[in-house]
Symmetry: C2
Subunit: 557 residues, 2 copies
């Protein structure tokens, strides 16, 4: 039966128009060397129109890509709004990638215009000669001395613009086109550790639904001022620039001032009510707050994602500052938010059960469906204990990676391997509770595949590290003729430790199923770490393969 409803598309321009009118007095508050700079949503709407007219003027007439090379500031948010609204596609380039990766993603995405913060003009000028598709550079802020020539030098650069001049005299309203809601509106690349970064193209629809749903779960409103530390150049800025247009929350944008001290000042001086950032940022802030008392009483919550936050940090923020730290889990491929660790409303705050929920990876957002696929390819029950690789689907989850036809067969095969029919393979392994909370433990490449069953390396590590004599433990799977893989436990003992490996194995006996107990162990001096401080299991596997580990066999298997 046909519906009689209008088929109004879900567009970024709808959000922009709404935010600039209904929430016209809300503000983008950009931190600068001389304090806060304020841009009302009404002004942001006008500048978005001006930017769109100016971009039309340099040939952005259809779905061409416009790149940004910027910190979190008002102009970056305005680009987030204007470029999709005019029917073009925003590519916020990750300024933290290696130079060759930045060149790769900019060329692969195909940006013809790039907007660059003046504080980033120098590193950008180094990349520009290789960015042969870029015709126009717009510099946000005065162009630094001596850099204008460098930016204008490459043959492919037609003109270098100052943001203010680029927008000046342009009309402050724009007849935003009625594009298809499934058209691309923004692209984002994963920062894969191996091979070239892979890109996804968000649609108007996916960004609209993602922002509306995640904002709805966080219960933020017009009275909120949200400190957005998560970079706009990374993982779609967790959807905040779009969610703010729905909710009218003001956004506090730290630009390049990402150290604990200025962040604490922003919270206290601007009466920030919530924030979004990675664990490292909030951990640094916590250290600072503990040493330098600062009034952060305005702050109600901090959303944390990107990697798992230590439970102790959640507890300290809660107990000492009354700040609810909300775990989020997601992926660039998921726009990015898939789940938020808000405790169920019927669980008493402060109880162990409450903290189990709060420390989980969170409850799937409505619209996101998850399933667990076990080692034999069969779906596992959502019972809180059966483990499998998490697969997800939903309206803001990618169904493929972006191909511009330049990829090798190997790359295309790798891209395709991340999907299981209409489901995205997340690469995360863990359990799903019957009330839709994620309990993720391992990456699928780290889980130990033993005799058609999976053993969580992280569960084993946590159990071993529970022994008082153990400083660190890292468990990897090593090849086994009979079982395919078996766990190898590498352990760093504390100074003066007396425990022997047999003792460690006995210690695990009542904590871990017998078949999962490691029968190979190695005492090492230090667990190798990656640049962000995670256990570097690749290095450990290499050491094992090279015969550099002193492996001892214990137990009966």
């Amino acid at each position: 039966m046909d519906s009689t409803m209008q088929r109004t598309p879900l567009l970024i321009s709808t959000l922009l128009r709404y935010g600039a009118s209904a929430h016209g007095r809300s503000e983008l508050i950009t931190w600068t060397e001389s304090g806060a700079r304020r841009t009302s949503y009404r002004e942001a709407g006008e500048q978005a129109a001006q930017l769109a007219h100016a971009l039309r003027g340099v040939g952005i007439t259809d779905d061409q890509r416009v790149g940004t090379f910027m910190w979190n500031n008002a102009e970056h948010v305005i680009a987030y709004l204007a470029v999709p609204s005019m029917g073009a596609v925003l590519h916020a380039i990750n300024i933290r990638l290696f130079p060759e990766q930045m060149v790769y993603v900019t060329r692969h995405g195909g940006s013809e215009v790039v907007i660059v913060d003046n504080s980033l003009a120098e590193p950008f000028s180094k990349l520009l000669p290789a960015l042969t598709g870029v015709r126009h550079v717009v510099v946000n802020g005065p162009v630094p001395d001596g850099l204008r020539d460098a930016l204008a030098a490459p043959d492919h650069v037609e003109q270098v613009h100052d943001w203010d001049e680029f927008l000046r005299d342009q009309p402050t309203s724009f007849d935003w086109p009625a594009v298809d809601e499934n058209d691309g509106c923004a692209m984002c690349y994963t920062s894969g550790t191996t091979g070239n970064p892979k890109g996804v193209v968000y649609s108007h629809r996916s960004n609209y639904l993602h922002a509306l749903t995640s904002a709805s779960m966080l219960s933020v409103g017009q009275a909120d001022r949200l400190l957005i530390v998560v970079p706009l150049f990374h993982a779609n800025a967790w959807g905040y620039p779009y969610a703010a247009m729905f909710t009218g929350s003001s956004l506090v944008l730290p630009d390049r001032f990402l150290q604990p001290e200025p962040l604490a000042r922003m919270i206290s001086e601007l009466k920030v009510t919530g924030g979004a950032g990675v664990p490292t940022v909030w951990n640094g802030l916590l250290q600072h707050l503990q040493q330098t008392p600062t009034d952060v009483s305005s702050c109600r919550f901090l959303m944390v994602g990107g990697s798992a936050a230590p439970p102790a940090m959640l507890r300290t923020y809660q107990d000492r500052f009354g700040i609810e730290m909300i775990h989020g889990w997601g992926m660039t491929e998921m726009s990015p938010v898939g789940s938020l660790a808000l405790a169920p409303g019927d669980v008493e705050p402060g109880t162990p059960e409450y903290w189990r929920y709060r420390s989980s990876q969170g409850r799937l957002l409505p619209g996101v469906e998850g399933r667990l696929i076990g080692p034999d390819g069969a779906q596992q029950p959502a019972d809180g204990s059966s483990i499998g690789e998490l697969e997800v689907r939903g309206p803001w989850i990618t169904g493929s990676y972006y191909s511009n036809g330049s990829e090798s067969e190997t790359e295309l095969a790798d891209m395709a391997s991340k999907f299981d029919g209409e489901w995205l393979r997340t690469g995360d392994v863990g359990a799903l509770t019957d009330d839709s909370y994620l309990l993720l433990s391992d990456r699928s490449k780290d889980v130990i595949k033993s005799g058609g069953e999976w053993i969580s390396s992280v569960d084993l590590e946590n159990a071993i590290m529970g022994h008082p004599d153990v400083l660190e433990a890292s468990v990897i799977g090593i090849p086994d003729d009979k079982w395919q893989e078996r766990p190898l436990a590498t352990v760093v003992l504390r100074d003066g430790a007396t425990v022997m490996i047999d003792g460690l194995r006995d210690f695990l006996a009542d904590k871990i199923a017998r078949w999962q107990l490691p029968d190979k162990w190695a005492i090492i001096d230090e667990v190798p770490k990656t640049s962000v401080g995670k256990f570097d299991k690749k290095a450990l596997r290499r050491s094992f393969a090279d015969g550099a580990l002193d492996v001892q066999r214990v137990g009966s298997e």
Copy 2:
């Protein structure tokens, strides 16, 4: 540029699956003669699956219509979820219509199965002989003595079922079909005062987006228990059955116990945190609470809609009980919520400005766009004072009325006249502020069209009623050779009033623009009222046309 995102449809089944798992412990709490009856969302999900299987068994295999003739109770919510999820179309029949209208809408909609509360089986049995398309009747609760035969009597009725038996032995899970999100999922008829009711057909998409957006604005969550007094048989139950699946709020369903005393008991005994109903209901409750002290401290907000709530009631609930009464405005044609009168976050509570916002018809929801069309057909500015007829568009606003081919030319023309291109004419006249709040005053049929300009009858009435000698005033437009229409003010004076008509006109001089001042007046004994207590301007116009009013001319025009 194509997006890489999945095109997962927005379906009611997505909501049902989500609510039944993520919020499995939340409850539908149905009030009965013997207290509260509880159905968890998990159980509701299982019963929805059973209902769907049972309906398949009686031939609901595609998009056939399933009617309900029910109060607000768990089984009605389960039908709201199951029927759309299985791909069929729910028609909640308005049990408050005149019998001939109930017969009309049921036949026009085409229900083949109707689910009936046993407490409503008797009136339904009177209609049933005329409902020749109805093949099966499912009775919720034991069939009252002697009614089974009456229900089974009509030739077109193949079978009468008990709800419990209908569901018994059916599987508790269902493989919900992947229908198109734009397919019809539920239908609803307006209760037009003239002519046949007109129907709209909601889509999965429209109901999904409406529920998500309105729930998001209200900031409700899993810890909420919402008292849903607004009938599920009227105006899509304001979207609450679907919103609850997103948010996990429990729903308190009063069944037929709609008097102030049981409503007050539900709030205090079930620790209700919010509610939804029309002004009459909340006004009755307020009278009760003032006479019979009851603990309603759990209640945070009451949403009120259907007609304008008196500002004094908003103030009293706030000041005396700390309950925020939230004005909503909408239409059946809008799913129904178009706006909510939450004050902007930057306006200080309690100030006159705050109360102006709270007493308005509210801020348009994100996604709903509004424009004002003036008497000359030109769009009016959103400046808070220019008035026009409000037209709206958006993803949960109807673009047409449902036609089954049986309508007369006149009816079809009437249906088409409610649309202005892709915009729905709301029939409401008023202003729109620059921050998207509605200030509606008149229905378009009541506004006075004078010399190409509009005069608000309600503004005149309020100004006249500001005079201490005036008890009531109602203003209608009467034909005028020169100006097309001019206002006629009908006034009921208080006992002992001394004011004369000239005095009333002088009283208005500094309140109303000179050209708007009524030059025709009539003193009457009482303003005629409709059955719901509104001024009956149709009756007044008839009295004027019949020469039954003693009209006096004053002023110079």
